[in-house]
Symmetry: C2
Subunit: 202 residues, 2 copies
């Protein structure tokens, strides 16, 4: 399999961590993708032009990261990082929450990347930042994904989201969320691919 | 179950159509939500403040729409609109593609909703519009979801996306995509809840 992604992408990081956890990483070759380059074959592989994309042995492409996690879980036998049965939905919800945090983070990053300073909208950035803040507050006072046994898709996605807050938002979330900080420390201890996939702050 | 959504939300529309298709609609009460109102209980139900949210009989909340579709499928016995086994991944990919179209559409709508005219970014809007255009071009020349038997999650999401292009983008997509136009007509014939959930253009 080929994975089109880029190092700092938190959605790509989810996939790489999942591949490690599922014992599939040796079957995947990473081919870096540039979402801003129209000549990159990425837009043929995914018309949305988004990463990550997984290209299977027969040329089939799969996206987005949630679908790829589901597929890799299937390749590993099924029910490993995404449970079947009743416990499934808490995991899927955690994945959706952490993905939602990432979406709100990325819109804040894009505000700077796509617009000159005088056309940035303070209210929009605050609106996205509030989503992140409410989600972190909720997480801090609710049960976090278990780290006994293999981490599930919710744990992987949450770790990717917190790692992205470290990378792009100066880790400020750490000041007010001791339980989440401890959880991420335990995740990194239990999942060596977390440190392995970390993007150095430039 | 209680569904927090609003009429024009394409993500909410997906859920309502799925509930009809799965025979679960009588078990769901819709309670309209206002994403812009901080006093709406929505932000307690989903810290991201996004719709739709499904509230189960025991108070558990589920989001986002993809998770809710998976849950409703489970309530209906499983494997009905989201197949298990190998055919699963084409359906999940179609759901991700149509959700990606919707995300790119909504960012264009929000550009107008959240910013005064002189601070809108033409390049950003074009960047999102190109995602939609490439996705529609790809769909027009590839296999569309089957409409024999119950429509799957891919069909439901694609119909919601095309319906949103009709609602918010003057149906201009219809000019260049005859195969998609025919597909949506067939979908609406096969799935009465499509017309039932249509938001009148104001």
């Amino acid at each position: 399999m080929i994975l089109r992604t880029s190092g700092p992408s938190p959605f790509g990081r989810k996939v790489v961590m999942a591949a490690h956890i599922l014992g599939l990483v040796d079957q995947i070759k990473i081919v870096p993708a540039d979402t801003t380059d129209p000549s990159d074959s990425l837009r043929l592989e995914n018309p949305l032009g988004k990463i990550p994309v997984l290209i299977l042995e027969d040329g089939t492409t799969l996206y987005d990261s949630r679908v790829i996690l589901d597929y890799l879980d299937h390749r590993a036998g099924g029910g490993v990082i995404i449970p079947t049965g009743e416990s499934r939905f808490a995991v899927l919800k955690m994945m959706a929450l952490a993905d939602g945090v990432l979406d709100a983070c990325i819109l804040q990053v894009y505000e700077k990347r796509f617009r000159p300073e005088d056309r940035r909208e303070v209210g929009w950035v605050a609106y996205q930042a509030e989503k992140v803040k409410r989600a972190l507050t909720w997480l801090e006072s609710n049960a976090l994904p278990s780290l006994s046994g293999k981490p599930d898709g919710g744990a992987i996605t949450l770790a990717a989201a917190l790692g992205y807050l470290d990378l792009r938002f100066e880790g400020l979330w750490r000041n007010d969320h001791p339980k989440l900080v401890a959880w991420l420390r335990d995740f990194a201890k239990a999942v060596p691919s977390y440190d392995l996939t970390e993007t150095p702050k430039s």
